[in-house]
């Protein structure tokens, strides 16, 4: 039996005013598997990714729960050891490839920096590694790209660069935070294909944050559906699409447009579903508060 790559148990986080933004979230990512976190805005899906990477905004405080990265309890580590561990074993593919890159530095040094400075690679080794990865993400003219400034590349190219950078240090886990949301559909398909291919070849686990059930269906093996910081349904992706259990999941699926079936899709979410969700959240909060004062 092999240990989970990432194991989150009962994670709760609050804002300064006491409101819970994560509500006893539990999920795990096995080595080499893609788990999608899907939900609408405010669902807390990005927050979970940030919690794993240790980059929650200062106003958000984790009040309960454990996060185990390859069996190591992140909560028990000293801050410095935690940073090192997270830095060595995880990576991020961000949503907006433009703001994730420093506009005033060339691509090359930005990509090698992390390998050299944080992970102590030699400059030459890092350079060779980056070129190899650029080849894997099908960038055919690495010399030109490495010399470019971010604004000189198209959105799709920038995202390829960031994917290459994410895989460069062979992380065990990648958090992909809406990595294709800003892209055109045809580019999105290429990028998803690349991520899937590199993920398979490198055996990397991915926590894939998205709002798009279509993307979930294509890229993931497991999925957690979130609403208001709570996991409302958790399943194998194939099972979820075959038979969604939670009314909210069903409503989301019915609301998602589908060109193959235009009139059965795009159904507004029923008020009763939302009322049911609100009641479910309230009950969960009450149950949680009882032992926590």
């Amino acid at each position: 039996m092999n240990a989970s790559c990432l194991n989150i148990a009962n994670l709760s986080a609050v804002l300064p005013n006491g409101a819970r933004v994560l509500r006893s979230v539990s999920l795990s990512v096995q080595p080499g598997e893609v788990r999608a976190l899907v939900g609408e805005s405010g669902a807390g899906k990005t927050m979970i990714g940030k919690a794993v990477l240790g980059v929650l905004p200062p106003s958000v405080r984790i009040v309960e729960g454990d996060m185990l990265l390859e069996g190591e309890d992140l909560g028990r580590l000293q801050p410095k050891a935690r940073r090192t561990l997270i830095g060595a074993r995880t990576a991020l593919i961000p949503q907006d490839p433009l703001t994730a890159l420093n506009p005033s530095r060339r691509i090359g040094p930005q990509m090698t920096d992390r390998l050299v400075r944080i992970l102590g690679w030699s400059g030459q080794g890092a350079d060779a590694r980056i070129r190899q990865l650029l080849d894997e993400v099908q960038i055919r003219d690495p010399d030109r790209v490495l010399k470019c400034y971010p604004h000189e590349l198209s959105g799709g190219m920038r995202q390829r660069v960031l994917i290459a950078a994410a895989f460069a240090a062979e992380p065990r886990l990648i958090v992909a935070d809406e990595p294709t949301t800003a892209l055109d559909v045809t580019v999105q398909k290429q990028i998803l294909r690349l991520i899937a291919q590199l993920q398979r070849e490198h055996g990397t686990a991915i926590l894939f944050v998205t709002h798009d059930l279509g993307v979930v269906a294509k890229i993931s093996q497991k999925v957690s559906v979130l609403y208001a910081g709570k996991v409302v349904e958790e399943a194998e992706t194939a099972a979820l699409f075959a038979a969604p259990q939670h009314p909210y999941t069903r409503a989301l699926m019915a609301a998602t447009p589908r060109y193959t079936d235009p009139f059965a899709s795009l159904k507004p979410v029923d008020d009763a579903v939302l009322a049911g969700l609100a009641a479910e959240i309230a009950a969960a909060d009450q149950a949680w508060r009882r032992p926590h004062g």
């Binding site: 559909v185 045809t186 580019v187 294509k218 989301l252 589908r258 235009p262 795009l266």
Partner: protein, 276 residues
Amino acid sequence: MAEPLFSVRGLKVALPDMTRKPLIGRAPMVEILKGLDFDLPRGSVTGIVGESGSGKSTLGRALVRLLEPSAGSITFDGRDITHLPEAELRPLRRNLQMIFQDPMSSLNPRRTIASIIAAPLRQNGFGDNLKGRVAEALQRVGLPQSFASRYRHELSGGQRQRVGIARALALSPKFVLADEIVSGLDVSTQAQILTLLEKLAAEMGLTVAFISHDLSVIRRLCRQVIVMREGAIVEASATDALFEKPQQAYTRDLISAIPLPEIDEGWLLPAAKVPA
């Protein structure tokens, strides 16, 4: 057959390219739209789809004459509006309305919702019974009357977009341009806004140009579709025909790139090129 509401012939729009502006002097012009021909039939929704850089938003802004074309002609309701000066456009504006992509930026933060909806009414000679007209507009888009005195930051994204629709429809215009009006919204809200627009367009017999990058949404809402790429029309046809028998390879690529919410193991595999 009735004459179309819009008749566009050889439409070209050129804009200054600020990224290549020399230190001294004017920026060079780039042609964004490279000669478009199409009609918009009355009383139906036409989708305009394309990826970024296709020129679909520029086309929209030329239709409502926020931009002046550099060549070609736009005939609206039998009248050539291609080069009408702003002052002569003003009386036509009530029939050329627009719903914006970003309801945050399209609502003035310092005006109440009532004042925002009332502005086009007041300016176009419907200053009497403003209160009643605003109330009617709010009701039409399913917002409670209490919203009249609120500001945009007190509203959710979906509610803001309802205000944008209420404002555009307050004058019962002949034409409405809807520019990516749901691309910033969650799916559940998106469905509400689209079904609302669909219902109102049918009830009021509106002619709508619906700009979107999302073909799934277009299929539901639009009777015909114009597919654009790099400032030119790739393909224009009735919606069902476009989806069932796309004529152009680019259209087929666009359709097949949409990730449908259903399991399809082969979708991500490198395309085994089907021989044409």
